[in-house]
Structure formats: structure tokens, C-alpha cells
């Protein structure tokens, strides 16, 4: 701890110098500024990704219509206002890539890990501010590379965000597999570098730079979530890099890691044969499955924090929450095969993956129950952040339950690659994580910009988004169950698909209304940056450490010494206190000192056996990690 403190102090001194515009706003090494850079880039990417989805939704709802504006916008990709099938695929692919990696990995994790880790564990900055800065710039470079691929002659990568070879490996298979795919791969490689630089930083900051008294078991659940997320990323992204590298070799250097027995456009002979397309899928999903938890866990962490604060109630089952995060993280590495039940892999392997996958439902269920119990007998303040968090819980339940169908190898025979899958992942990963991100933005806006966002607009934003999200994604379950495949440019293949025409229109109109509601958010966000009501230091009367920093958001975070932490972060509504919150950094002046030697000890008379047990458990966890 002492080196960290030293480092932090020297950092602190440095903030006295006058900073130039460039070092303050552009090449900033302050974690708060970097987090804002991630956030704004994420929001911009989010808008782009969303607009793309609206464009291809129009195609799905009105396949015969000619949209004049599309030709204006897209030129040769929408001749006569009708979207080109290749470009449709390109849009779907880039939409998926943007949403998964750029918005919900970098935009969510990058923003809030950067903002909250130092603030909530009590550090002056990240372990390596320079690496942190690099992380952002790699991310930006990656974003630009990806977006540039939309504007090239042959169009962007269009084999789906999973870019399975041989489709993505053979230039002749589709136009998007040419330069567009090369750019996609470069963008992802840059992205992985960015993500690794960030992840290493997050992990080392959490492990090494906690302030006095901030033992691991006093960390807010946000930090636990970011911590596990970073570990997942660190272990799984390199595998994707490897997979991408092999793909680059196959595309450009004549290797055949993923290729075999291919005949395309009158050309029968690859130089080398004997690779396996399925190998790519194994490698991809070894990242791909942890990736969905990389997306979801930060959102869950944010939700824990926001729900506890606004329910004015301790989060229920802190230990269980940490253990389930741990369980989910571990299990997420050994379930990737559930994306591959029908690739023709050995049926026995399918059974194994099915069992492991359904086990993951248990920790997830525990989390959902714990959220519900936290709300029970709470005193709920519906700030926009709170509403979005509750919305997340709702999506997490609805979307999580359909995972039980998809994890079942037998049921997956029918459901794989159908609209059921689209419904499932948009609810549990898409909507839930986006809601977590929005909750985080509304909640920590005062810490980022020193101002408040407008609540009323927030309420409208929430309800419209919440309702339309369900209207968009819920009916898709039924389409999928009836056998409507995803990634279809239009549903003209079978007579039977016509039944879904109205549903498709409903979905598209809801998506447009939902998209329009995001304008409220954008307006609210940017207006409040400059003109919002001035915030106080602790506007939500929350407990965690970040609320002890001054409104001015100085480099180094705290003007004087870093506060000491005296208790866990969820001491809300203690019966022995007048106020309904008890910040971590406020020394206890009334209760006898002894009580603070053990965690989660609280109202003097009320030391239940369970609580003793929990501290014993934490001691055990600490020992496992070798930390204190």
C-alpha cells in the first residue's frame, strides 16, 4: 500500500501545474477524463449502431417499399431506395460488432471501470495512467478503422459479427469478405490491444491501490464486477487475437487453418487443405461466451450499487453476489460449446456443454433473487438511474430464462440461429447491458461533469425505452419458435413467413420510437454537461468513497489525504443512525471502536450468527486470494 500511496502523492503534486488544453482534454492521463472519452466515443458508436439497426429494420418491415432517403444516404447500396442484400448483411454485421465490442465492452466497461475503480477504492489514479491513455487511443483508432470499412467500394465485413470462415476467409464468397473483412480484423486487433491495456490496469489498481481500510470485502460490488470482467477479458481476448491471426494467415498467406475441401466459382484447389472451419468457432466462442459476461457483469455491478443506494437498503447477500460473480466468471470459460451444438460436433461433447451451461443458471438466479430481496421492504427512490437498474433486472430475468432453452442441446436443434436467439441475446445482453450503462450515466453524471441531468426527461426516456425494447424483442421469441431464421434479408422464402409481416412492422415502428427516445437522452446528456443544475458532492446520499471527492473533479481526486474507509459500502438505513446512510469514509463517533474490527458489523445489538459466519467466509476468500 505504501508504494501506491507514494505514487499517488507524487501524482497529486503534479496536478498543481497548469495543464495545457491538449494534456487536459486530449492526451489526458487522468482516469476521469479518459472515462469521459470512452463514454462519448461509446455514445457516438451507439448512435451509429442503433441507426444501422433502424435502417435494416425498415428493410425487414417493408421489403417492397422504396425509401428515397436511403438512396441519398447509401448511394449504390440502396439503388432505387431498396437496400442491397450484401449491404444489409454488412449493416447487421457492423451493428452487432459495434454494439458488442464498441458500445458495451469499451463504452461500458471502459467508462465505468476508469471512472469508478480509482474513485471507489480510494486511489489517486490508475496504476498506469499512461497505459490507460494508450488504451483509449487504441480504442479510438479501432473505432475509426471499423467505421471506415463502411465507406469502401466493396462494403464492410458482412459475415455476421461472428465472421465464421470460410465465408469470411474467401474473398470470392461475398464482397464484404474482401477489404472490408481485412479492416474488420485490423479493427478487432486494435480493439483487443486496447482492451488488454485497460484490463491489466483495472486489475492492478484494484489489487494494489486500495486506500487504508478498503479491504476486498469492503469493495462496492461495482468494483468486484469490474475486477472479474477485467480478468475475463485478459484471459479470453488473446484467444480471439489468435483466432483472428489465423484467419489473417488463411486470407492472405495461403494457409488453411480453417479451410478444407473448398470449391468456389470454378476454382477447386486451395494450395493447402485439411483445416477445419469448426476450429475457428471453438476459438471464437472461447472468447465469445466470456464476452457476453464481460458485457453484462459491469452492468450488474452498477445495478447493485444503484439499487442499494436508491432503495436506501443494504444490498441483500453481498457475499452471495460476489460468489455468484466468481462462479459465473469461472463457468463462462467452459460453456462455449453451447453455441456449437449443431455444428456436427460429437453429441457427447454437446451433452457436457449442456450440463455446464445449465449450471451457470444457478448463480444467475441467485443474483436475480438477491436484487428482488434488496427491493423488498426498501424505501425506493425512483431516480432515472434506479428505474434503469430495475429495468435491467426485468430484462435479466426475461432474457436469462430463455437461456435455459438455448442451453439445452435438444431444444437448440430447433432454436439455433432463429429469431429466438435474437430475442434472447438482445434482452439479456443488449437491453440489460444498455440499461446498466444508462443507469451508470444517470447515477454518476454528477461525478463526471459536476452537474445533474434532468430527471423528468430521464423518466420519459426510461419508460419509452423500456416499453419499446419489450415491444421490439418480445415478439421475436415467437418468430424464432416458429422457425424464422435470423440474418435473412427479407422473409420471402416461404409462404408461411407472411404471417409475421405485421409483427415485423410492429417491431420496426417500436424500434423507431425507441430510437427517437434516445434523442431525449442525447439532448439531456449534452445539455446537462453545460447547463445542468450544479451538483452537490453527494447528491444521492450514497455511501461509497467517490462521493467524498469535491465537485470540482481535480486531478488526483482528493485535495488532501485520501480518506480512510471504516466499513462496507452498503450501510443504508442503519437503525442506530438518524440518517438513512452511513458513508464508508465517515468515522463512527458513537459506537464503540471494537465493532469496526469485523466487517459488516453493524447495529450493536444485532450481531446475528449469520453475520459472524459471513465475516468468517470473507476471511476465507481473502486467504484464497492471498490478499487483505
Amino acid at each position: 500500500m505504501s508504494t501506491a500511496a507514494l505514487h499517488a502523492d507524487s501524482h497529486h503534486d503534479h496536478h498543481e501545474h497548469k495543464e495545457s488544453f491538449i494534456s487536459k482534454y486530449v492526451f489526458s492521463m487522468d482516469h476521469k477524463m479518459i472515462s469521459k472519452q470512452f463514454l462519448i466515443t461509446g455514445i457516438v458508436m451507439g448512435i451509429i449502431g442503433m441507426t444501422m439497426s433502424l435502417i435494416f429494420r425498415l428493410q425487414l418491415a417493408w421489403p417492397d417499399e422504396q425509401f428515397g432517403f436511403m438512396e441519398t444516404l447509401l448511394g449504390k447500396w440502396a439503388v432505387d431506395g431498396k437496400l442491397d442484400p450484401n449491404f444489409y448483411m454488412g449493416l447487421v454485421t457492423i451493428h452487432g460488432t459495434i454494439m458488442v465490442f464498441y458500445v458495451l465492452t469499451a463504452g461500458l466497461s471502459g467508462t465505468f471501470s476508469n471512472l469508478l475503480i480509482p474513485l471507489q477504492v480510494g486511489a489517486r489514479d490508475m496504476a498506469s495512467p499512461f497505459m490507460n491513455m494508450l488504451s483509449y487511443w487504441f480504442f479510438l483508432a479501432s473505432s475509426i478503422t471499423l467505421l471506415s470499412s463502411v465507406f469502401i467500394e466493396t462494403g464492410p465485413a458482412s459475415g455476421g459479427w461472428t465472421v465464421y470462415p470460410p465465408l469470411s476467409a474467401l474473398e470470392k464468397a461475398m464482397p464484404g469478405s474482401g477489404l472490408g473483412m481485412t479492416l474488420w480484423l485490423s479493427a478487432i486487433a486494435l480493439f483487443i490491444i486496447s482492451s488488454l491495456l485497460g484490463g491489466i490496469n483495472y486489475i492492478s489498481t484494484v489489487l494494489n491501490m486500495r486506500t487504508k481500510g478498503m479491504s476486498m470485502n469492503r469493495m462496492p460490488l461495482t468494483i468486484w464486477a469490474f475486477f472479474f470482467t477485467a480478468i475475463l477479458g485478459l484471459l479470453s481476448f488473446p484467444v480471439l487475437l489468435g483466432a483472428a491471426l489465423f484467419l489473417i494467415f488463411d486470407r492472405s498467406f495461403g494457409t488453411s487453418f480453417y479451410l478444407s475441401d473448398i470449391y468456389l466459382e470454378g476454382v477447386g484447389a486451395l494450395e493447402n487443405i485439411g483445416g477445419s472451419p469448426v476450429l475457428y468457432q471453438h476459438l471464437f466462442w472461447f472468447l465469445g461466451h466470456p464476452e457476453v459476461y464481460i458485457i453484462l457483469m459491469p452492468a450488474l455491478g452498477i445495478t447493485s450499487e444503484v439499487i442499494s443506494t436508491n432503495a436506501r437498503k443494504p444490498i441483500f447477500g453481498y457475499t452471495a453476489m460476489v460468489i455468484s460473480l466468481m462462479g459465473i466468471s469461472f463457468l463462462s470459460f467452459i460453456v462455449w460449446g453451447h453455441h456449437m451444438f449443431i455444428t456436427g460436433m460429437n453429441p457427447f461433447l454437446g451433452s457436457v456443454f449442456m450440463i455446464l451451461t445449465l449450471i451457470i443458471a444457478v448463480p444467475s438466479a441467485v443474483k436475480a433473487f438477491n436484487y428482488l430481496t434488496t427491493l423488498w421492504k426498501g424505501n425506493l427512490r425512483f431516480t432515472p438511474a434506479m428505474l434503469f437498474s430495475i429495468g435491467l433486472v426485468s430484462f435479466f430475468i426475461s432474457g436469462g430464462l430463455t437461456g435455459i432453452y438455448l442451453g439445452n442441446a435438444a431444444l437448440d436443434i430447433q432454436l439455433h440461429d432463429s429469431y429466438f436467439v435474437v430475442a434472447h441475446f438482445h434482452l439479456v445482453m443488449g437491453s440489460a447491458a444498455i440499461f446498466g450503462m444508462l443507469a451508470g450515466i444517470y447515477h454518476w453524471f454528477p461525478k463526471m461533469y459536476g452537474r445533474m441531468m434532468n430527471n423528468t426527461l430521464g423518466y420519459f426516456h426510461f419508460w419509452i425505452t423500456f416499453i419499446t425494447a419489450y415491444l421490439v424483442f418480445f415478439p421475436m421469441h415467437f418468430m424464432g419458435l416458429a422457425g424464422v431464421p435470423r440474418r435473412y434479408y427479407q422473409f420471402t422464402l416461404l409462404e408461411d413467413f407472411n404471417v409475421w409481416m405485421d409483427v415485423n412492422k410492429l417491431i420496426t415502428v417500436s424500434a423507431i420510437v425507441g430510437g427517437a427516445a434516445q434523442l431525449l437522452f442525447i439532448y439531456n446528456f449534452f445539455y446537462s454537461i453545460f447547463k445542468g443544475k450544479k451538483a452537490t458532492a453527494n447528491p444521492w446520499q450514497a455511501n461509497s468513497l467517490e462521493w467524498s471527492t469535491p465537485v470540482e473533479r481535480i486531478h488526483g481526486n482528493w485535495p488532501g489525504e485520501i480518506p480512510t474507509v471504516y466499513r462496507g459500502p452498503y450501510e443504508y438505513s442503519r437503525p442506530d443512525r438518524e440518517e438513512d446512510f452511513f458513508p464508508q469514509y465517515v468515522p463512527d463517533d458513537s459506537a464503540p471502536e471494537v465493532l469496526h474490527t469485523e466487517e459488516h458489523q453493524v447495529a450493536p445489538e444485532e450481531k446475528s450468527p449469520e453475520e459472524v459466519e459471513s465475516s468468517v467466509f470473507f476471511a476465507a476468500i481473502k486467504r484464497v486470494f492471498g490478499l487483505s
Binding site: S260, Y263, L457, V499, K505, V513
Partner: protein, 487 residues
């Protein structure tokens, strides 16, 4: 103070107008009406500007209202009287959402549920599948309703009240153990059932199953049936040619391919030999274009010429030729390897039928062998609860027994035109959405035999060449022989 009273009044008006706020929902309600009623044509004329404008207008109104509420908040501060309690409004909206949401779920189940054809699958394992589905649906739907109801009920019940303090409640191990154990038990049950269902579907394959090869390519399907000899001939992707799209090991076709490849190679060799002359010629034309100013009159032609010329000079032209030659040589060598193996071209392929439709007999077990030649496709037959990826270089299979003829399906669905299809369910390129093959299930073997006889074998039988009239006859007898042999 008078201004303040005015503001308060204004605000109460706004508060009442909240009811009117359902205008946000109005477009959606209209649409819902559109869904409930038989669809009117949703014309773009209504959609384009009017929709966009009204959405913008709605946003503007929301902005104004939000501002008004801010003023309200200010007056609240000044007068100390609560005008609008957003906390209560949100709690109520939550309850309304819950009720409306449950209604929506019920509506979906009622209207779209029957489209899933659960309990009416067209295959033997389909029933096992459906029962697995029902079990899963039962559990998840129960949990879904209970937890969502609790969630929104808690939102309402425990909304903020100044005079109340939340329960200081950290954890309850007993409760937590219960809700870890109970889902575990339920999931164990589902896993065990899933395991048996999955194993049954994937591994219990009747010995007498008939093999059919289903072949996927960009963008279509072909099926291959064994002919009279009852066995599918060999195949290899190196044999694929324009006339032999599946690469079946049929000696005549393959010899032709070899000849074709050799011809192409010598042509390419010739190009390569005269490369210097060609480049010189291009240079000449290039210079002429520049000198005469034609380059400006025909910029496109000039551009092509320039690329050609540049490629020639940089050596790219020759390299491409060499690469092409090498690739064709590789193909030839590979074919030669197979040619050495006498057993490979054993003639079993000669009577195979390559068809553009799949015909199956009711209650007869089949095993589909899937192949693809370019990218991954997926053979999807939702009516039969069948799906399997078709992977280039990795043969896959799916065994099943159809139990409902096309005619029966038509009468159950009440659609006289209904047909089963196998279609592609793995993204495979621009026309992925347009890749199907008809599957017909017939009542009995005889119907099937008639159909098979109408399909031409890869190599026409010798007899057929002499007397065209005898052709059908000959095949028919052979076909019946074959059935006898198989039974």
C-alpha cells in the same frame, strides 16, 4: 406570491395532462390495432414525413413538459408544497406496465402460440422434442411471471415514503441456500431430460435408415439418392465441375474434368510464354492512347489498359498466371491420386440420382448426410425439428423419421398449398435468405419409387440408349427390385 399560485395551478394542469400523455403510446396503440385487425397496407406515404414529424413533435412536447416540471420543482421549493410526486407517478406507471405487459404476454401466447405447431411436429423425435419444450416452458414461464410480478409489485409497494425507513437486512443464509438449491434441483431435472432427449435424437439411429446426401452450395441445395444398387457412390470436392456440381466419383465426368483442366493449363502456359509480347503490345496501345489524346476521350478504357500495362510491367500479370497454373496442377495431382485407387471409382455412383427435391416416405427412418462445397450452410427443417450445419470438409449427419405426409400437414394446417422445405439457416452470403429445397413426404414406398424412377441417373443405363421407349420400363423394374432388396 400571485405568480407562484399561478404556477402551482399550471402545474396541476400539467399533472392532469399526464393522462393525455398516453399520446406517446398512441402510435403504438394504432399499430397494435393494425396487428389485431387484418393488416391494412401500411403505406410509406403515411410513414415518411408525417411519422418523423410527429415523433419530433412528441419529443418537443416531452421537452416542454419536462421544463414545466422543473418550474414546478422550483415552486415546490419556494412554497414548500408538493405539486408533483414523480416517485408516485413512476410507481403507478410500473403497475400499469405490469398489467399491460402481462396482457401482452397473454395476447402473444394466444395469437402466436398456435403458430409454433407444438405437438404437431412431422417427425418421430419431434414429439420428444415438444415434450422437452413443454417442461422447459412450464418452469421458465412460472418463474418469469412470479419474478416479474414481484419486481413491479415491490416497485409500487415500497416506493419512497419520508416517514419510513428501509429494513436493515443484510442477508439470510437459509433463504439464500433455499434459492440456490431449488433452482439447482429444477435445472438438474431439465438437464437430465435434456440429456436423454438429446442422446436419443443424436445417437439412436435405426440400422435400416436410408442414406440421402444433402448438398449445400451458394445458393441452393441438391439431394443425392442411391440408385438401384442401394448405395451412394463416392465423392470428392476435387471432382466438382460445372456438369458435376457434387463432385461424384463417376469416371467419365472426372476424365472430362481432367481434360478440361489440362486444356486450360496449356492455354495459360501459352499466355505466360508470350507475356513479353503482350506487355509490349499493351505498351504500344498505351503510348498511342497518350499520344493521340484518346486517353481523355475514353478514360475508362484507358484506366483498364493502364492497370493491365502496370501489372505486366510489375510482373503481377505473370505471377497471376503462374498461380493459376499451379492451382490447376494441384487439382490435377489430387485427382490423379484418387485415380490410382481402383476402389474409389467402383461404379456405385453411376446410378445415383441428383435431385432438386427431397422425397421421403412416411414412417421410414432416414439418415441425412450433409455436405457443403464453399462455405458453411445449415440445413433447417423446423417442421421436423431438424437442423444440422453443412461444413465444407466435414461431413455431418442427422437421422430422423418423418411421421406426417405433406397431405396430412396441409389438412392439419388447413393450407392446401402447404409444403415442407429445407432451408438455409447459417449466414452464407448475399442470397442466404433465398436458399431452399422442397421436402415432400409421401404415404408409401410406391409413390416414392415412381418419383425416383422419374429422376435421371448420373450415367444413363446402356439399354436406354438403344430403345428410348424401353427406358422407363427398364428402370421401373430395377427400382422395384431394389426395394425388395432393401426390405
Amino acid at each position: 406570491m400571485r405568480i407562484d399560485t399561478l404556477r402551482i395551478r399550471l402545474n396541476s394542469i400539467f399533472k392532469k395532462s399526464l393522462a393525455v400523455l398516453s399520446f406517446v403510446l398512441a402510435p403504438m396503440m394504432l399499430l397494435a390495432a393494425d396487428v389485431i385487425e387484418p393488416p391494412k397496407e401500411f403505406s410509406i406515404a403515411n410513414f415518411d414525413w408525417i411519422t418523423i414529424l410527429s415523433v419530433l413533435l412528441a419529443l418537443l412536447i416531452i421537452l416542454v413538459i419536462a421544463r414545466a416540471f422543473d418550474i414546478g420543482a422550483l415552486t415546490e421549493k419556494i412554497t414548500g408544497k408538493t405539486v408533483v410526486s414523480w416517485n408516485n407517478i413512476n410507481a403507478w406507471v410500473a403497475i400499469i406496465f405490469l398489467v399491460a405487459g402481462l396482457f401482452g404476454v397473454w395476447y402473444e401466447l394466444k395469437v402466436h402460440g398456435p403458430l409454433l405447431m407444438l405437438g404437431n411436429s412431422a417427425s418421430l423425435h419431434g414429439d420428444t422434442y415438444d415434450s422437452m419444450f413443454y417442461w422447459t416452458f412450464g418452469f421458465t414461464f412460472f418463474v418469469f411471471v412470479v419474478t416479474e410480478v414481484l419486481l413491479f409489485y415491490f416497485m409500487f409497494r415500497y416506493r419512497y415514503n419520508e416517514n419510513r425507513k428501509a429494513l436493515y437486512y443484510f442477508h439470510n443464509n437459509k433463504l439464500e441456500i433455499i434459492w440456490t438449491i431449488v433452482p439447482s434441483i429444477v435445472l438438474t431435472f431439465l438437464v437430465l431430460r435434456g440429456f436423454t432427449t438429446w442422446s436419443k435424437i443424436t445417437t439412436e439411429i435405426p440400422k435400416e435408415s436410408q442414406e440421402i446426401e444433402v448438398f449445400a452450395y451458394q445458393f441452393g441445395w441438391k439431394a443425392r439418392y442411391a440408385g438401384e444398387d442401394g448405395s451412394l457412390g463416392n465423392q470428392n470436392f476435387n471432382f466438382i465441375s460445372g456438369s458435376n456440381p457434387l463432385g461424384v466419383a463417376e469416371a467419365g465426368q472426372v476424365d472430362e474434368l481432367v481434360k478440361e483442366l489440362e486444356g486450360e493449363i496449356s492455354k495459360l502456359e501459352a499466355f505466360k510464354a508470350s507475356a513479353d509480347d503482350s506487355i509490349l503490345a499493351w505498351k504500344g496501345r498505351y503510348d498511342r492512347f497518350v499520344a493521340t489524346g484518346l486517353s481523355r476521350t475514353y478514360p475508362e478504357d484507358f484506366k483498364t489498359l493502364k492497370t493491365k500495362f502496370n501489372d505486366g510491367v510489375s510482373g503481377a500479370y505473370v505471377r497471376t498466371l503462374e498461380k493459376d497454373i499451379k492451382r490447376k496442377r494441384t487439382a490435377l495431382n489430387r485427382i490423379a491420386e484418387y485415380k490410382k485407387d481402383d476402389g474409389f471409382f467402383d461404379g456405385t455412383a453411376n446410378d445415383d440420382r441428383v435431385t432438386t427435391e427431397i422425397v421421403l416416405v412416411k414412417n421410414k427412418p432416414y439418415i441425412f448426410k450433409f455436405r457443403a462445397r464453399d462455405v458453411i450452410h445449415s440445413a433447417y427443417m423446423p417442421d421436423f425439428r431438424v437442423q444440422m450445419n453443412c461444413v465444407p470438409g466435414m461431413p455431418t449427419q442427422f437421422a430422423f423419421t418423418p411421421t406426417m405426409t405433406t397431405t396430412e400437414a396441409r389438412s392439419i394446417k388447413n393450407k392446401p398449398e402447404y409444403d415442407y422445405y429445407l432451408f438455409c439457416n447459417k449466414i452464407c452470403g448475399a442470397a442466404h435468405y433465398n436458399m431452399k429445397i422442397k421436402v415432400t413426404v409421401v404415404e408409401n414406398e410406391a409413390e416414392y419409387n415412381t418419383w425416383l424412377a422419374s429422376q435421371a441417373p448420373l450415367v444413363a443405363p446402356k439399354v436406354a440408349e438403344q430403345t428410348p421407349a424401353a427406358e422407363t420400363e427398364g428402370i421401373e423394374t430395377e427400382a422395384t427390385d431394389n426395394t425388395v432388396a432393401m426390405n
